[in-house]
């Protein structure tokens, strides 16, 4: 019954065939939900995450508002069918903690001071979960914020580094996260050069820790390029639609 699984083979490749420092396939899309002010969808490995942003709007109830800036509400929520075993719809302690750290990862890039007494809602639904879902959620959420036209200092990018069989691995998948020895998700703000989320559980030496930080940062820069490409395509598409509609009208 106990199958000893080797997570890295003799050629240094991982169970899904990746090299140690290789990202999983990533696909992003923005503006797919009609009702939301902004929305984004990400597939990052087997993660499938959809994010809607509503706002800025009047903060309700009033006692949660701040006189000098917008409050940000963030909910990270997993669909009951997103996990191997069905997840109860009630928010778990894990989801409550992640909602907090994701909010704290995104809030530094939002010009909340432009919208006193307002509220910006970020609703994250994990439709299918894999390792690194909070990182993918952050990547998608900053796209949804941009899609909503909310003024941002920069995008935020999430990526994790894990440790498997004593080796650091980039962007660990579910099984690597579960059987591995450490997992460190970070969120990075490229233009500002700042880390806005940093968590770790497992076991790192000081050296591993520093190396992992740099690996994560490098990977974030790659994902950042994809984010910008996604927004650019959306922008070009919108521009095209606008131009066509203007042409039609003439």
């Amino acid at each position: 019954m106990v199958t000893v699984q080797k997570l890295i083979n003799e050629e240094g490749l991982r169970v899904d065939g990746r090299r140690l420092d290789e990202l999983r396939p990533i696909r992003m899309e923005v503006g797919l939900l009609a009702n939301a002010d902004g929305s984004a969808y990400i597939e990052h490995g087997k993660n499938k995450i959809i994010v809607a942003v509503y706002g800025p709007k009047e903060a309700q109830p009033k006692h949660v508002s701040l006189h000098d800036r917008a409050v940000v509400r963030c909910r990270y929520h997993m669909a009951p069918f997103s996990t191997d075993e069905r997840k109860s719809p009630a928010p778990s302690r894990r989801e409550i903690e992640i909602s907090k750290v994701v909010r704290e990862a995104l809030e530094p890039v939002i010009f909340t001071e432009y919208f006193p007494r307002s509220m910006i809602d970020i609703f994250i639904e994990v439709l299918q979960s894999d390792g690194g879902s909070r990182c993918a959620a952050i990547t998608a959420s900053s796209l949804a914020l941009a899609d909503a036209g909310i003024p941002l200092r920069d995008l935020v990018v999430g990526c994790a580094v894990g440790k498997v069989e004593g080796k650091l691995v980039l962007d660990p998948s579910d099984i690597e996260d579960k059987l591995g020895e450490a997992d460190m998700p970070i969120a990075f703000i490229p233009v500002l050069g700042k880390i806005s989320l940093l968590q770790m559980d497992g076991m790192f030496t000081e050296e591993e820790f520093i190396k992992a930080l740099n690996m994560a940062k490098e990977a974030c820069m790659k994902i950042y390029a994809l984010q910008k490409q996604t927004l650019k395509e959306k922008y070009l598409q919108v521009e095209k639609e606008v131009r066509e509609s203007l042409t039609l009208k003439e």
Binding site: L33, N35, A36, H77, A79, P80, F81, R86, F123, S129
Partner: protein, 272 residues
């Protein structure tokens, strides 16, 4: 406790225009009174689920995931599997949805979809027994609203049966000591019927099919009827504080029956 809901403030002009258009047989989005929006079905979108389907009716988008686990049978039904239908109106789907436990609307939605599946006998529950009286398959149908633009019942009901139709059932082997062991094999989930719900709304004495959210907010009442592959009615729900005459109900039934057949013909050809 149920309370008269606050109606979403729909610009009066919009509402008036809707009603005016209806009298001339047209709708705000250009449809005729008995036109259904374009239906799109994507099956198997969630690989981790035993079955799944994403259904769009225009801008209404509903995702249904099916998970199949093992559990105890109901004491009074020792030789049947179990079915649980649940709906979540996640706040992503509409600016007026707030996070929280299911409210009366999501409970009503789930129960209507549940009745359609259960009463039509769509799932062969007798074949979901692993150890009689002790261990059975439990089928969880989770309805997830991604974008709400009206007629959630039909979108959810179509997504639910689509997801069930592409669901795989884990095969268990009972070993010598009488314990069930999960194998690597899967069978298709045994489905026996294809119930299709069809919803009509009443706006100022006009009956429209597949109401949009704007129309639902103006309508006085809705009527949903679910039909089996043989054209039998297996579930009905009237909702809203409006009323119907007997004659309206009987006519609505004919319209809905025809539409259910058409949807089955277009998307579930094997169930004709």
């Amino acid at each position: 406790m149920s309370i008269t809901p606050q109606i979403e403030p729909l610009a009066k002009i919009k509402s008036k225009r809707m009603i005016k258009l209806l009298t001339s047989g047209k709708r705000l989005d250009g449809r005729g009174l008995l036109d259904y929006r374009k239906i799109e079905i994507k099956n198997g979108v969630i690989e981790k689920a035993e079955g799944s389907a994403l259904v769009s009716l225009g801008e209404t988008k509903v995702l249904v995931g099916v998970k199949i686990e093992t559990g105890s049978p109901y004491p009074d039904l020792p030789n049947q599997g179990a079915l649980t239908v649940n709906a979540e109106f996640v706040p992503l789907a509409h600016r007026y949805f707030e996070p929280g436990p299911p409210d009366e609307n999501s409970i009503e939605l789930a129960r209507i979809v549940d009745r359609g599946i259960r009463e039509s006998g769509a799932i062969n529950m007798e074949s979901l027994v692993i150890i009689p009286g002790r261990l059975v398959d439990v089928v969880f149908v989770d309805i997830y609203i991604l974008n709400h633009d009206g007629n959630l019942i039909d979108a959810s009901g179509i997504a639910a049966i689509s997801a069930l139709l592409n669901s795989k059932l884990p095969v268990y082997r009972v070993n010598e000591s009488g314990e069930a062991e999960k194998t690597e094999e899967y069978n298709p989930l045994p489905i026996r019927d294809c119930p299709i719900p069809v919803t009509l709304a009443k706006i100022n004495d006009k009956i429209v099919l597949d109401p949009s959210l704007d129309e639902e907010n103006t309508a006085s009442a809705k009527l949903t009827m679910t039909f089996t592959k043989d054209g039998k009615i297996c579930a009905i729900q009237k909702s809203g504080i409006g009323t119907f005459t007997l004659q309206e109900v009987i006519e609505a039934q004919k319209i809905a029956r025809e539409k259910a057949n058409e949807i089955r013909k277009n998307f579930f050809r094997e169930w004709i």
